[in-house]
């Protein structure tokens, strides 16, 4: 290159601030999301109700007349219906049901939140890599086929038998199986958006990959991720109750709504209260996440932003 032509060209400094400034408008993605979401009154109501349940599950244990860890068995008090002494009645061994239900609710909600959070972090990260890095596609696809084609019950039984049963083991196991679905979902979406013209252009302009993923692609994923989360929470609770039913659930020191439901399920005609309270809490959780998930995923879809 000759010297005189050198003066005609110079390198452009890449500066994030400048880049932002050019495309600046008062549009804020999360602002719009919140704005749209708040318009859905039913979803907001359910979310508040859910938060109330979560907070109340802690308060309830404080105000309870009995302490979960020191419940006494008394056959004479068995199967009391709700009354002033036992607010939710008593179970088959005459133990206060109130503190059992709320303690179990805490555990179940905590488990499902942890599992869902873990699933989505792992799922989104791996899904992005899987979708973006072509050379890894084969590997992850095979891994997916491999893991997803072995019946879950085999994993759960083996883990329960070989490793043991506890809250942590359960959470880790469920995450390590649950991320697959999320990752696959994310991968498919990433593949769709990866080669869109604006991304190609962005890449040509030297935008780093993480920035393309995070600024250009992720917003498209948010709505799908949220929807998946919303489905995942109830299914975690359901899965937990199925596993408890099979004796493969949490350790014995940790009650869960699934276990309470399992114990109460066939006798509910005679003692409806034992089934009613845990079932209502599970239903509130499930219902909340269904509504909130749908509303939020609509709100998060950039196409719906004006």
């Amino acid at each position: 290159m000759s010297n005189d032509k050198k003066d005609l060209f110079r390198f452009a400094e890449h500066s994030i601030e400048d880049a932002e400034r050019i495309g600046f408008s008062d549009y804020s993605y999360w602002g719009s999301v919140m704005h749209n979401f708040l318009k859905k009154k039913s979803a907001v109501f359910m979310l508040i109700l859910f938060l109330f349940v979560v907070i109340f599950s802690h308060v309830a244990l404080v105000i309870a007349k009995y302490d979960y860890s020191s419940l006494r068995i008394d056959y004479d008090l068995a199967f009391q219906t709700p009354n002033a002494e036992f607010w939710f009645g008593t179970d088959n061994l005459g133990r206060d049901y109130w503190c059992q239900v709320w303690y179990a609710a805490q555990i179940s909600i905590r488990l499902s939140l942890i599992v869902v959070l873990g699933e989505s972090i792992l799922g989104v990260v791996i899904g992005c890599i899987w979708g973006y890095v072509r050379s890894l596609d084969r590997f992850f696809t095979e891994l997916y086929n491999f893991i997803s084609n072995i019946p879950t019950i085999i994993y759960m039984t083996l883990i329960a038998m070989v490793v043991g049963q506890s809250f942590t083991i359960m959470a880790v196991t469920m995450i390590s199986i649950g991320w697959l679905g999320m990752a696959r979902n994310v991968r498919n979406l990433v593949m769709i958006y990866r080669d869109r013209e604006y991304n190609l252009a962005s890449r040509c302009l030297g935008t780093p990959i993480w920035r393309v993923l995070h600024k250009n692609i992720l917003p498209h994923l948010v709505s799908a991720i949220i929807l998946r989360l919303a489905i995942s929470i109830p299914s975690t609770i359901a899965q937990e109750s199925t596993l408890s039913y099979l004796g493969l659930g949490l350790g014995i020191d940790t009650p869960s709504l699934g276990i309470l439901l399992r114990n109460a399920r066939t006798d509910f005609l005679n003692r409806p209260h034992l089934l009613f309270f845990p079932a209502v809490i599970v239903s509130i959780v499930t219902f909340t996440f269904y509504l909130v998930g749908n509303a939020f995923s609509d709100a998060a879809d950039p196409k719906n932003h004006t």
């Binding site: 068995i73 056959y75 068995a78 043991g164 114990n263 066939t266 006798d267």
Partner: protein, 665 residues
């Protein structure tokens, strides 16, 4: 048997059974109702069977109840159709209805004829002669005749069991302990290679005929030769070890497929054939038309349904979909408390369980990492500590898990199951032990072996002594149960019983679950104690007591107490050695039954005096039923109460009064 015929017979039988003797099935703990001794102990000429089953001619014309012709029960499925190849009672429940042995029990626990017409011994129990009936047939699934049932089938059966390559040693233990030459033949076949061993037979000139103490002088006679005088040998005939195997079946399916027979290929000689078998679904038994006892009452069909849970079974009973349900603690309680409950009058006691359950203490407990649990081991080696448990722990609340209405009927004060062996005057053996221990008589409001004063004294002593030894309280006792709600609930109750008695600041029960096989925690000795029981195999106290011998092969000693790992000079070992001596002395007495019983009672009392193991419960659960339990066979030894022969049924279910009235007759 056609339907009409069965119906008529059933009616007749119902009438006959309600009128004729229906023995007391009252818990054997109550000494008021001694049943007649199970084993004929008089060394007389071949004794005639104790109670012939020929029903009395129906005197009353109107039956009280309408009997059931097609019974529906809840139950699992057998895992095999070869009774010689299984030792689980779950399989036997089905198989004893399909294959019949030499003897049965009647509803009083006495031996009655089955294929054997009569039997006895002339030399004090060294050799036993069984005379078989000549009208018993082998049939196929559809009830078509295959062959006659002959004495040779028992020889074939025994050869099969003792041939290690044919039956892997299943059911051989009873034979090895009692039959001359059984051990030698088992060892001999073990050393052969498979093909050689499979080719062996029992016939004339065979190694088996030469070695093992069984002879078949003619088609319908079997002579067993025992290792030593065994006055109770005939009680062994109800166990799977002395069941027949038809040579014709072997020829038909091939020797290598005998264990693989199914309900379609097997041969039947008992009251029913299994006409339908679906694992996880339904099982249908149909009455065997060629069954020898044409006078007995059988159901046309019996259907077993797989039922998911006890609650579900209860609902099915309410709907009339099954004819018997055992009640859980909560159901029983609800029914008992509500006088207007539709089942209030219908709750009856089931046949008591066969096993005598104990708190088997572990004297050499490990932590899961393999290190010794010094705290527990020191505590349990302390006699005052054990006695505080023995005299102090009131299991009444725990019993309510099994029988919420009459928990005391579950009391068990001894190692030997009550109702198994008797002295010549009909006194239950366990009463001898009671006298030796100076224990109170059984009562309905208190567990007899408890003693509050002694408990308090020993508890204080234990605390003092253990504190001196430098233990820190509470002493943690790990207790393992399976991970299901029923067991967990029971464990929670047990925890409360023990902690109430010992003080939770002194002993703390920690409930853990095993997901792996129970044997995992047992063999690694990580449990502080386990509650387990054993149903004996012969009508003799030795069947329970020999498992406590100081010996590598004794079951409880080796698997639960783990005392064989203790140093030779420890107190526990000294007690066990003393017991072993007493036991051997007692076992050597074969000519005088009463002396034998007395000697065993002394040995058993020794174990209990030192609270080496703590007697806990026998199951005595409640049920709703359309079958009169008085009409079921009873044995404390082999599971036989599920043999559905001569059962008295009522389509409307039985009330408590009806059952009690029938029992009184």
């Amino acid at each position: 048997m056609n339907q009409k015929m069965t119906k008529v017979l059933a009616l007749a039988m119902a009438a006959a059974m309600t009128l004729s003797a229906c023995g007391s099935s009252a818990p054997a703990e109550t000494p008021a109702a001694p049943s007649t001794p199970a084993a004929p102990t008089t060394p007389a000429a071949p004794s005639t069977p104790a109670a012939p089953t020929t029903p009395a001619a129906p005197e009353a014309t109107t039956p009280e109840y309408e009997p059931i012709t097609d019974l529906v029960l809840s139950g699992g499925a057998p895992s095999t159709f070869q009774i010689l190849n299984t030792e689980t009672s779950n399989d036997r429940v089905f198989l004893i209805n399909l294959v019949e042995g030499l003897c049965d029990n009647n509803n009083k626990g006495q031996m009655t004829p089955a294929v054997a017409k009569e039997w006895g011994t002339t030399d004090g129990g060294k050799t036993w002669t069984f005379k078989l009936r000549d009208n018993a047939k082998w049939v196929d699934i559809n009830g078509n005749e295959k062959a006659n049932v002959t004495a040779y089938d028992w020889a074939t059966g025994m050869e099969y069991i003792l041939n290690f390559h044919k039956n892997s040693g299943f059911n051989s233990a009873n034979l090895v302990q009692n039959i001359a030459g059984a051990q030698e033949y088992l060892d001999y076949t073990k050393d052969l290679d498979a093909a050689e061993a499979l080719a062996l037979t029992w016939g004339e000139g065979s190694k088996f005929a030469e070695m093992v103490g069984i002879e078949t002088p003619d088609e319908y006679t079997i002579v067993y030769t025992c290792l030593k005088e065994t006055p109770y040998f005939d009680s062994l005939t109800t166990t799977s070890s002395l069941y027949p195997l038809a040579q014709g079946l072997i020829d038909e399916v091939g020797i290598e497929n005998v264990n693989a027979v199914t309900n379609e290929t097997m041969w039947y000689n008992s009251c029913y054939t299994m006409t339908d078998y679906e694992h996880g679904g339904e099982i249908v038994l149909t009455a065997n038309p060629l069954y020898w006892d044409t006078d007995c009452t059988l159901f046309n069909t019996v259907t077993y349904k797989t039922v998911e849970s006890q609650d579900m079974a209860y609902m099915l009973y309410e709907n009339g979909e099954i004819d018997r349900v055992s009640l859980g603690q909560s159901q029983a309680k609800a029914i008992a408390e509500d006088p207007n409950h539709k089942f209030h009058d219908y709750m009856v006691e089931a046949i008591p369980g066969r096993t005598s359950n104990h708190l088997q203490l572990n004297y050499d407990k490990n932590f899961p990492d393999g290190t010794k649990d010094v705290q527990w081991n020191t505590a349990v080696a302390n006699e005052a500590f054990r006695k505080a448990l023995y005299y102090g722990v009131d299991f009444t609340e725990y019993f309510k898990c099994f029988n919420a209405v009459e928990p005391m009927s579950c009391t068990n004060d001894f190692i030997t199951r009550a109702g198994v062996s008797y002295t010549s005057d009909g006194k239950d053996y366990v009463e001898l032990v009671r006298a030796n221990l100076g224990m109170d008589a059984a009562s309905s409001d208190k567990i007899a072996h408890l003693n509050a004063d002694k408990a308090a004294q020993y508890l204080a002593q234990a605390k003092e002594e253990l504190a001196k030894e430098g233990l820190t309280f509470p002493i943690v006792a790990e207790y393992y149960v399976g991970n299901n709600q029923g067991e967990l609930d029971n464990a929670a109750v047990l925890k409360q019983c023990i902690e109430d008695a010992m003080g939770s600041d002194f002993v703390e029960l920690k409930i853990l679950t095993y997901v792996k096989a129970y044997s995992e925690v047992r063999d690694s000795a990580t449990q502080a104690f386990g509650i387990f029981g054993y149903g004996g195999v012969v009508a003799d106290p030795s069947t329970y007591l020999r498992h406590y011998l100081y010996d590598d092969t004794a079951w409880w000693t080796n698997k639960y107490l783990h005392t064989v790992n203790l140093p030779e000079d420890s107190d526990i070992v000294a007690i066990q050695k003393e017991f072993t001596e007493l036991y051997n002395k007692a076992d050597a007495i074969v000519d005088d039954n009463d002396a034998r019983m007395a000697a065993f009672a002394e040995a058993e009392a020794l174990l209990q005096e030192h609270a080496l193991t703590i007697p806990c419960y026998v199951t005595n659960s409640l049920q709703l039923t359309k079958i009169d339990p008085n009409s079921q066979m009873i044995s404390r030894l082999a599971a036989c109460d599920s043999k559905m022969k001569n059962w008295v049924t009522n389509v409307d279910g039985f009330t408590r009064e009806q059952i009690a009235a029938n029992a009184a007759k």
